[in-house]
């Protein structure tokens, strides 16, 4: 049998579809990643109101709950939940494919170009998923919050971070977010095919800049509460 005959028939193979293909799932990963990076950036900016005092932050929270007659927040939640679901689905299936692609490993593989961030994506991702569940139970539903008051988000924010263990977990989770974003923001441009020598340093610098900004400001919140700057 010739090599050409051993290749799977073109039309039949092509029929396996965009979402089943390796590159297709990477594009899903990248597109949902952009939604999630966009969200954490806006989330970080919104929380800056905490530095402006209780009234500003509570007013901002009120706006989020009431925009578009209270529908807006549910639209955002639906989009985010879908994005997170697709992101985890793509990551899981691609990871399983990658593990199956090398059943026998090397005795001592030398890493030359990869970064610690790129090699720990699946672990930083799992920690972030656990953190998001905790974060929702902590400051959205108040289930694991010491003294939650639905009417006063600012007080919840301050009292939540006064518990050093909780503040510590937030800081660790933000560092994981940093690792995940630094590789992810750059990586998604590659998955979308946005590579060109003129823009290569720009996309690396953009990933670094956005990561430092988001993570730096986010970490400042629990630290500001613990040091009494926000009280």
């Amino acid at each position: 049998m010739s090599v050409a005959e051993q290749s799977i028939a073109g039309a039949e193979a092509r029929g396996h579809g965009f979402l089943a293909s390796s590159v297709g799932r990477k594009v899903v990963m990248a597109a949902t990643g952009v939604i999630l990076f966009g969200f954490v950036t806006v989330h970080m900016l919104g929380n800056l109101t905490s530095y402006m005092g209780a009234e500003a932050m509570n007013h901002y929270a009120q706006f989020l709950r009431t925009m578009v007659h209270g529908m807006g927040i549910w639209v955002f939640r639906a989009v985010l939940l879908t994005a997170v679901g697709l992101h985890i689905w793509a990551a899981t299936t691609l990871t399983l494919d990658n593990m199956a692609a090398r059943p026998v490993g090397y005795r001592n593989q030398q890493n030359v170009a990869s970064t610690w961030a790129s090699r720990t994506m699946r672990w930083s991702g799992v920690i972030l998923a656990a953190f998001i569940i905790y974060h929702l139970l902590h400051l959205t539903t108040g289930t694991v919050h010491p003294n939650f008051d639905h009417a006063n988000p600012y007080a919840n924010f301050v009292n939540g971070f006064k518990v050093p263990a909780a503040a510590g977990f937030y800081i660790v989770a933000q560092l994981c977010l940093g690792l995940h974003m630094w590789h992810g923001v750059w990586s998604c441009t590659q998955s979308f095919g946005l590579a060109h020598p003129r823009y290569n340093s720009l996309r690396r610098n953009f990933a670094t800049g956005l990561t430092v900004l988001v993570v730096g400001v986010n970490i400042s919140y629990p630290i500001a509460v613990l040091t009494g700057f926000i009280h």
């Binding site: 051993q6 293909s21 090398r102 590579a195």
Partner: protein, 262 residues
């Protein structure tokens, strides 16, 4: 004359694809720093043959770095420690007396071990057969330069065409992904006018075959680019992704009532 030296090799020995393999230790004695890595293995093998043992099987052909046949992972790096160097072009002066060297085959589900350090890279041939070609009518040759091609396109095409299909990218990738190889072949044809008619069919066919061969997927570590003996760039992978996205968005399902004159 430069000083000869001794090494210890830890070599993956595997009888065939079905058997389990294991590492076996061999001394490599009186090695000249001017030998190539494969010549060093030839010396070790001659010793094994004299003792009546089975020599270490490894792939090699041109021994001048252009055929892409030699393939082994040396101390955890495909083709060894030097950049842009195939195993056959690696010299023993890159090592020193008393060094311990681990030799393993390319490790990927899609590259089954034939014997010891030799793997079956037929998966690459099947990917090429799926779309890595252009269809042209043969006949009398065209005038030279009848088709205008910008210098930049010719250069980028040639850079991608430098791929010798050795599989070091797959071996180096933590996910055993073949995307650097496939993207090099797609870019090599896609930068030229002759590659345009089948451009968007090609990218879908080759990626479908790549997936069917059970290679892993790219997570943008960059290990492939660092291991490639021909310096193929990851920019090609981005280009392949771009072509695939466009091909998937604009694909027209085949219909039975096609074209026709009139």
């Amino acid at each position: 004359m430069s000083k000869h030296f001794n090494l210890t090799l830890h070599v993956w020995r595997q009888k065939n694809a079905k058997c389990d393999g294991k590492f076996v230790e061999y001394p490599a004695e009186n090695i000249s720093p001017d030998m190539s890595f494969l010549e060093m293995l030839d010396v070790v093998n001659e010793g094994l043959i004299r003792k009546g043992e089975e020599p270490i099987a490894f792939d090699h052909d041109c021994r001048e770095g252009i055929c892409g046949t030699c393939s082994m992972v040396i101390n955890g790096r495909p083709h060894g420690p030097r950049e842009r160097t195939t195993t056959c072009q690696l010299h023993m002066r890159s090592f020193k007396d008393g060094d311990s060297i681990t030799l393993e085959p390319w490790r990927a589900e899609a590259f089954p071990v034939i014997k010891d350090l030799m793997v079956d890279r037929g998966a690459f041939d099947r990917i090429i057969a799926a779309g890595g070609f252009i269809s042209v009518p043969t006949g009398s040759p065209q005038d030279a330069n009848a088709l205008p091609i910008p210098k930049e396109s010719a250069d980028l095409s040639m850079d991608a065409a430098a791929c010798i299909g050795c599989g070091a990218c797959v071996a180096a990738c933590p996910n055993a992904s073949a995307m650097l190889f496939v993207s090099a072949k797609i870019s090599h044809l896609g930068h030229l006018p002759q590659g345009q008619p089948e451009r968007y069919l090609r990218v879908r066919d080759m990626i479908a075959q790549m997936d069917a061969e059970e290679f892993g997927t790219c997570t943008n570590h960059g290990e492939c680019e660092a291991a490639c003996p021909k310096g193929i760039k990851m920019e090609n992978i981005a280009r392949m992704n771009r072509d695939f996205i466009k091909a998937s968005l604009t694909y027209r399902p085949a219909t039975t009532s096609g074209g026709g004159a009139g």
